[in-house]
Amino acid sequence: MADEFVLRMEHVSKSFPGVRALHDVSLSVRRGEIHCLVGQNGAGKSTLMKILGGAYRMDAGDIILDGEKVFFPNPHAALKAGISVLYQELALNPCLSAAENIFLGREIKTPFGVVNVRRQQQEAERLIKPFGVEIDVALPVEQLSVAQQQIVAIGKALSFKAKVIVLDEPSAVLTVEELGRLFNIMRGLREDGVGIIYISHRLEEIFEIGDRVTVLRDGEVVGTFDVSTVNESDLVRMMTGREVVKTGSRSRVETGEPVLEVENLSRRRVLRDVSFRLHAGEIVGVFGLVGAGRTELAHALIGADRPDSGRILLDGKEVMPSSPQHALKLGIGLVPEDRKRHGLVLGMNVADNSTLAIWDRLARLGIVDRRSLLASARESVDELRIKTPSLSALVENLSGGNQQKVVLAKWLATACKVLILDEPTRGVDVGAKAEIHELIRAIASRGKALIVISSELPEIMSVSDRLLVMRKGRIVGEFLPAQTTQEDVLACAMGVKVA
């Protein structure tokens, strides 16, 4: 019987020890449909897709592909049946080239199992070409930029002659132009009758590309809708189960003595003549497009890179951090972007992680005082409303938003006067985002001076008191968020004059 739906997942349930990840979830995808899947982190989107892709086994339920009931004992079986999944993580093998990655497990061979390197590379180039980005497909992918790697991963997912393609958060690192090209390719596949499941945190993308949208919350389906019948705030409401009031921007003009003064900071090719001031209790946002020099500025401030010229004054005294450790001792800390790699010890518990930076202060004769450690951790957990079963829970088991709060707790506990937050809400869901913004304000109101680096314009507009815009290593504009529009800021960052 010809089925309108290429894929139906019916009454799928899945539990992990102690957690009900999915409960009675049904999802159906039509032929030639782009079906969006939204939900907060932890709502079960990725779990559902891993079941579809054969990486997890479901406890109950059915998967019906092309009208036939199927069972996938492993990812390979799913792939062979015509389901291609681009997972959020672990998509590529760092040591292999782009071409090898794309054809991993289904190499183009000459007789005797020898890889036909040239043909693989030609095919890989052909797959990547529609994205309009030049990528050396012979290079190990670890030597490619993050965006290039993502394009390779997407190219790979699209290259299977699949009936159903799942793209789990493919857009995070792509430029607008690359995303536009991806959407064009997706539209082409839709024409060909492929069913596409598209997962994104960026709701505006769903309205641009989606046909229908399914909302997941706490492992259950809230509903499936035609995209034309809902709007962004409907979706957010269904995802969170409550009305989210967009936090308004705040504006305070600080006067008085600055905590941090940066004068004419320059570093060959990446920073040019950067000067600004930062006051206690103030949040300064730094916005710029990729390559504008935001990260380079942060690195210069914490001594990871040496500036060629210029001065940094902390409380009126000239300092020159020589290393991140030195900067920390001076009172300047950087909360890194990649929390899993640089911000947390995943295998340690909440209490230890949140106090890691102050162990020396909690220790007597080199022995950490367990009681004051726990007291300090308890204080942070309460204050930052970290959702954790206990202080001794491992941070790797917390959600992304709560992990980020633990990172903030750690830095809050230090005596830093100046904190630089690099992309504080990357990979964090909508609900937790707003909470983290609140926390950032709370930290500032304790008298810390904050620099927030973000590539999300709405975020930086709502969280900063003052906004610095960088372009090509220079500060090209300063704005008060309350008195400006996103368009003005973006135009400034791109060096475009607006009438």
Binding site: L96, E100, Q143, E178
Partner: protein
């Protein structure tokens, strides 16, 4: 309003894209440069050592010495080929030295087929020589299979699993030999120990052949590329439909076979099965692999670098012997040169 903003972004993004492609070209250039240097740095160290050696000892560059050096290198060299497979796949194998011993003893044992009374009684009429050779290699494969199953199926860390087999397999070697040495392997195998092909000793030819074939397998065949895939990122390899467990098991089997081959050739050379043979071979092999530029974390490296690593290690011992340095300080020098070689490589690799 939104549209206007995005249109603007689109227009301006031409710039980063152009920059990205430009950097792609630069990357391509610098990559071959780095890789070239990285590969050359092993050769560089090697050539440097050859020049120094030739200076300090006139006997060094004689053919007798070189043939001798190559022969010494070939045994460790064969073990290191197998070790390279294992390490690229993200594992480690400490049992290879014991496998060398057990295979040498087994070879001699099979020749005497239980009729051994401390001296040569009879050569076994029950087993023809090729069968004995194959059985010995199979024994090596069996040790590897045991390692692989313990690691891939029973999920015991490679270091621990192969540490255990290292100890036990050495015990098997002693048991088989009855705590003694089994003398006399007979005429048919002496060609493996003493023969030459052209100017090169037989084990050297076997070693170099194995290096070439293994290099081709690793770089060009699906089987070989999967070794890198499994070592580089097991999860992504598994998601691509590669049977990672089976592949890991196979790596240890490969290592076991190479160790057995080395053990057999050594036994032929000394014309006896000696259960103390191959002690600390595993460490020499690991050292050679690391000097050769293969990453201990897996996914990177190759068998060519390992061969040079073996040559470097052997050459150091050789030349220190030639100039008459006492064995004790030799060890100190060897350790320093291993560190020096790795530092030099890292320094060259980081200069981009």
């Amino acid at each position: 309003m939104r549209d206007g903003g995005e249109g603007g972004v689109n227009g301006a993004k031409g710039e980063p894209v152009a920059a990205a492609s430009a950097s792609g070209i630069r990357l391509r250039g610098s990559n071959t440069w780095i890789n070239g240097l990285r590969r050359n740095s092993v050769y560089l160290v090697f050539i440097l050592l050859v020049i120094i050696s030739a200076q300090v000892s006139p006997a060094f560059l004689t053919w007798t010495n070189i043939a001798n050096l190559l022969r010494q290198a070939s045994y460790i060299g064969l073990v290191s080929v197998g070790m390279t497979f294992v390490i690229i796949s993200g594992g480690i194998d400490l049992s290879v030295g014991s496998t060398v011993a057990v295979s040498g003893v087994l070879l001699a044992y099979l020749f005497h087929w239980g009729g051994y009374k401390g001296y040569v009684v009879t050569l076994s009429p029950a087993m023809p020589t090729p069968l004995i050779v194959l059985s010995t290699l199979a024994a090596g494969a069996l040790v590897g299979l045991l390692n692989g199953v313990l690691i891939a199926k029973a999920r015991i860390p490679a270091f621990v699993a192969t540490l255990a087999t290292m100890v036990s397999v050495r015990g098997v070697a002693y048991m088989l030999a009855g705590g003694r040495t089994i003398f006399g392997l007979g005429e048919s195998l002496s060609v493996l120990g003493f023969g030459n092909i052209g100017p090169l000793p037989v084990p050297v030819v076997i070693w170099l052949g194995c290096v070439l074939v293994s290099g081709f397998i690793l770089k060009r065949t699906v089987f070989g590329r999967w070794v890198y895939a499994v070592g580089g990122d097991e999860d992504s390899a598994r998601l691509s439909g590669i049977n990672c467990d089976r592949h890991k098991v196979l790596m240890y089997v490969v290592a076991g076979v190479f160790a057995a081959l080395a053990g057999m050739l050594m036994a032929c050379r000394i014309d006896q099965g000696e259960p103390r043979q191959g002690e600390l071979f595993e460490l020499d092999a690991i050292a050679a692999v690391v000097i050769g530029g293969t990453s201990l974390s897996g996914g990177r490296g190759g068998v060519g670098g390992t061969a040079i690593g073996v040559l470097i290690l052997t050459l150091i011992t050789n030349v220190l012997n030639l100039v008459g340095v006492h064995p004790f300080p030799q060890q100190i020098v060897k350790g320093i040169i291993i560190l020096g070689g790795v530092f030099l490589q890292r320094w060259l690799a980081s200069r981009n």
